[in-house]
């Protein structure tokens, strides 16, 4: 490892921009202080890898509406509570009497729903390919147990289409730190077409400090080559977890999806199949995205076009206590981490 660390610190080749497309990678990179270990010629850029950050305002608005309807309880992960739609966030709605519950796992909804059969429990189903299987498992368990008062409001997205979008529309990325846990489910093979098409290396990375360092070093070494390197082999295989993929395919199918700051990317999301419409809380057509602050640059930060510090609101109007956009609210948001660690 000492050699690898030295290599990264002393790198003096052409300047490189490497993009991490996993919010959890962004958070771990911050936590381990990795930026301080890299040569200034290796720049890490955060991509659209935080599902909370890329959620459009229409989705949050719908959740806010739903939690105020009598007979509904919106259930969610913690991060979604503070993301604002065009006006309010779920915390605001809760303070005004809306029914909102926070859980650690979507599976917790089963118990809630069976205890209160007259309430409709709507789960704010955000996530990438990592979390989609969990929702599939939830629905399967609900069906087996005869629990009918569960719904999903989905904002499920997939990685390859948005990575493709970044390569086509933004460019300037010399290597991708591929999302580790997405790959656990999908397998590392999903990045091959992209690597080949654009001639850019992909390194599937784990989440420990040294795993991230090795992955970054591999991308630097392999710059210019369209290869996919699996540096998380004890969790990721070429084909991934096929049972989980089958479960996802049973309940969901690819669909257009709207990404904050990008707009609609065809087939970049997943929606419930028509035969499971009874579990849908009205997820279709939630494409509108109108931020409350016109100067918010979340969209450009999310695609790596701007660094957080280049946003006019960063650190002034927009701080973790007074977040203007999702990138500052989410604890995996780039802006939040730049602020926390005073990254340049």
């Amino acid at each position: 490892m000492t050699e690898i660390k030295r290599f990264l610190k002393e790198y003096d080749g052409p300047p490189l921009r490497l993009m991490e497309v996993c919010g959890t990678h962004t958070a771990e990179i911050s936590r381990c202080g990795i930026v301080s270990m890299l040569s200034p010629k290796i720049r890490l850029v955060s991509g659209p890898g935080c599902p909370v950050c890329v959620t459009v305002t229409a989705y949050v608005d719908r959740l806010v509406e739903l939690c105020r309807e009598p007979g509904n309880t919106v259930v969610t992960f913690g991060d979604m509570l503070r993301v604002r739609g065009s006006e309010k966030c779920l915390n605001d709605a809760r303070a005004e009497g809306g029914r909102v519950r926070m859980v650690y796992s979507p599976m917790d909804v089963l118990k809630l729903a069976s205890k209160e059969p007259d309430q409709t429990f709507i789960f704010a189903a955000v996530g990438f390919e990592t979390t989609a299987p969990v929702y599939a498992a939830l629905l399967r368990n609900a069906t087996d147990a005869g629990i009918a008062n569960i719904r999903l409001l989905t904002s499920l997205k997939t990685m390859p289409p948005v990575i493709d979008w970044v390569c086509r529309n933004q460019g300037g990325v010399d290597g991708f730190l591929a999302p580790g846990h997405v790959s656990v489910v999908t397998g590392s093979r999903i990045f091959r077409p992209l690597a080949r098409r654009y001639g850019i290396p992909f390194a599937v990375a784990g989440f420990q400090g040294d795993e991230l360092l090795v992955a970054i070093a591999a991308l630097v070494k392999k710059r210019g080559s369209g290869c996919v390197m699996n540096l998380y082999p004890y969790a990721v295989t070429e084909n991934g977890n096929e049972k989980a993929q089958a479960a996802v395919n049973q309940y969901f199918s690819p669909h257009d999806a709207a990404w904050r700051g990008i707009g609609v990317i065809p087939d970049s999301g997943m929606e419930l199949r028509p035969e499971y419409a009874r579990f849908d809380a009205g997820s279709g057509g939630l494409y509108e995205d109108k931020g409350t602050n016109a100067d918010c640059r979340c969209g450009q930060v999310l695609t790596g076009a701007l660094t957080p510090t280049q946003c006019p609101l960063f650190g002034t109007a927009c701080t973790p206590q007074t977040p203007q956009g999702a990138c500052m609210v989410s604890m995996e948001g780039s802006c939040y981490h730049y602020y926390l660690n005073k990254r340049g």
């Binding site: 299987p133 846990h181 070093a217 082999p233 004890y234 049972k243 989980a244 479960a247």
Partner: protein, 70 residues
């Protein structure tokens, strides 16, 4: 959003498992992977996503050297 942690399966009953994370035990969904007690698994949002093979620090460095020399 892929916070997931490695833990050790304590017991399995049908599609529910109990997983231990350094002395913290939590129930987890086990319907997406075949697991047995003693397996090290990756758990995300209350659901087991994969059984882990043994992590060897040296493997990581070896992998990198392979890439370097390829």
């Amino acid at each position: 959003m892929c916070v997931a942690m490695p833990g050790k399966v304590v017991s399995v009953v049908g599609t529910r498992a109990i997983v231990d994370f350094s002395g913290n035990t939590v129930p987890a969904e086990a319907g997406l992977v075949d697991v047995k007690p003693g397996d090290y698994v990756l758990v995300h949002a209350g659901c087991i996503l994969q059984v882990l093979s043994k992590f060897d620090h040296d493997t990581l460095v070896e992998l990198f050297e392979e890439i370097e020399n390829a």
